[in-house]
């Protein structure tokens, strides 16, 4: 458990688990059941078709190669078309693609129909961070890693606050766009405890390729333990400690540094008490009220030189959270 929390504090790149398939990543969810064998079928039928075409091509090229132009050879007489042959090669692929359509359709419907008893989790996308909401006994918990129990169907309810993103878990063979202004959903049921990478698959700007996360599949019983521990930890944190944790969990770090360099937004180092000039407004001194307003209505007063691109955190941060963040910013001298 402590190891996991350490990972949270220091985000590292997720690792691809070794797979026994050459093509596909390790299979770790029941949702692969209608995908992987169709994939294998596709690979083999493609290899066979391509080989047939290439062999015929090379055979003809070598067998019927003309000696030289000067030899003035003429093509042998052969049919200009052959109805039986043409019907065969039209109908055979037709059967294959009909089968593929049916299998693909089944697979798709399976991916898009979560079981009724699925546990529900929210995934929130924002530039360039995934966060996942969990239900604690009291209140909620937000984390930047997806924790799920093994062998239990999970339905992810996905939304985005800014642009399109896509939640992609290769090992589960599933992917769904996070569309701002609506909910989309996907589901899976992990079969093997372990860690699997999560990618953002829909281009979303500067740090699109760093919008990574992990899904941690807990062995039976351990998920509950983790949740309880994480909730208690989150709840017990107050003041700057809480703010520090939120800084990474809520994705503040993707835009605001704490070392003095400006990124997408102003750095937090030495921010409190500083006088900032505001785009289209009078300069102001950064105080608690301004910080609070900037979290709730970020585009109202934007520091000069920065784009009004921050999403609102209204409803995502509790008063305790806001206070924590403000306290944390105060510590960054």
């Amino acid at each position: 458990m402590t190891q996991l929390l350490a990972l949270l504090a220091e985000p590292t790149l997720p690792k691809l688990a070794p797979s026994d398939s050459f093509w596909l990543p390790v299979d770790a969810s029941v949702t692969t059941r209608n995908i992987d064998w169709v994939w294998d079928f596709l690979v083999w039928i493609s290899v066979l078709t391509a080989l047939a075409i290439f062999v015929a091509m090379f055979h003809f090229v070598t067998k019927y190669k003309a000696k030289s132009r000067a030899a003035n050879e003429h093509a042998e007489k052969s049919a200009e078309h052959n109805t039986a042959l043409e019907i065969t090669w039209s109908v055979l692929p037709l059967f294959v693609v009909i089968a593929l359509f049916v299998w693909g359709f089944k697979g798709f419907v399976d991916l898009r129909t979560p079981p009724k008893d699925a546990m529900e989790l929210h995934a929130n996308a924002q530039k360039w961070k995934w966060t996942f909401d969990y239900q604690c006994a009291r209140g909620g918990l937000t984390d930047d890693t997806l924790h799920v129990p093994v062998d239990r169907p999970v339905r992810m309810l996905i939304s985005s606050v800014d642009v399109l993103h896509a939640l992609y878990i290769p090992s589960f063979r599933t992917k769904m766009d996070a569309v701002p202004g609506r909910y989309t959903d996907m589901w899976f049921q992990a079969t093997k405890p372990g860690e699997y990478p999560i990618f953002c698959a829909e281009y979303c700007g500067t740090s699109h390729s760093d919008m990574l996360s992990r899904v941690v599949v807990h062995p039976p019983g351990e998920y509950e333990t983790w949740l309880k521990g994480a909730c208690e930890k989150a709840d017990s944190l107050v003041g700057p400690e809480r703010g520090k944790k939120l800084y990474s969990q809520q994705g503040c770090e993707t835009c605001h540094t704490i070392d003095g360099t400006p990124k997408i937004g102003p750095t937090w180092k030495g921010l409190f008490g500083k006088t900032e000039s505001i785009t289209g407004g009078p300069a102001l001194k950064v105080d608690e009220n301004y910080l609070r307003e900037s979290m709730m209505d970020p585009t109202a007063k934007v520091v000069q030189g920065f784009a009004p691109s921050m999403p609102t955190y209204k409803g995502k941060l509790s008063d305790k959270d806001i206070d924590g963040l403000i306290e944390y910013i105060k510590t960054l001298k």
């Binding site: 939304s159 202004g181 609506r182 909910y183 209204k314 409803g315």
Partner: protein, 191 residues
Amino acid sequence: MSEDKPVADKPEAEPAEAAETAASSSPPPPSHDGSVRTTETTATKEERSHLELSAEPKPDEPKRNGGAHGAAAAHTHDAHGHDHGLAHTMPIPLLFGVLVALLVLTIATVAVTSIDLGAQGNLIVAMAIATVKAALVCTFFMHLLWDKKFNLVLFLTSVLFLILFLSMTTADRGENQHAIDEYRALQLGVK
């Protein structure tokens, strides 16, 4: 499916059309029936004579630009009473008749808004009237009634693709409205 039509029709319709154009522009080409296609880059004697022939004015070819000569000449080989030269000519009474119909329909479509036919009912009636008006404009003002049928096919194709685009997009959007409503309810209602 109308896009398929030109495919099916073309073998029959197009050569006929081309032949028609050819026939009206130059004398029938010398018969090459049965002969293998020639690949010389210089013209044979026969072809040269064909060329020279095609340069000869045809009896019914208009000799001068403008004036009634061309028009009169065109009459001789066309059974259609209203054809002047290259295309059909609209009689003035018909033009005015169509305008009156269009104006009456405009008044009708305004008038009908004061009658309640249900939310969709009024829209359907308004669209029906607009379509009748559009059909009148197309048929008469735009000469589609007398024009080459291929132009009509083209125009209908555009309408077909418009409907296709509209219906698929709207249908998909309709299926997803619940996801948007749900989001709004949760974001604004509950929180």
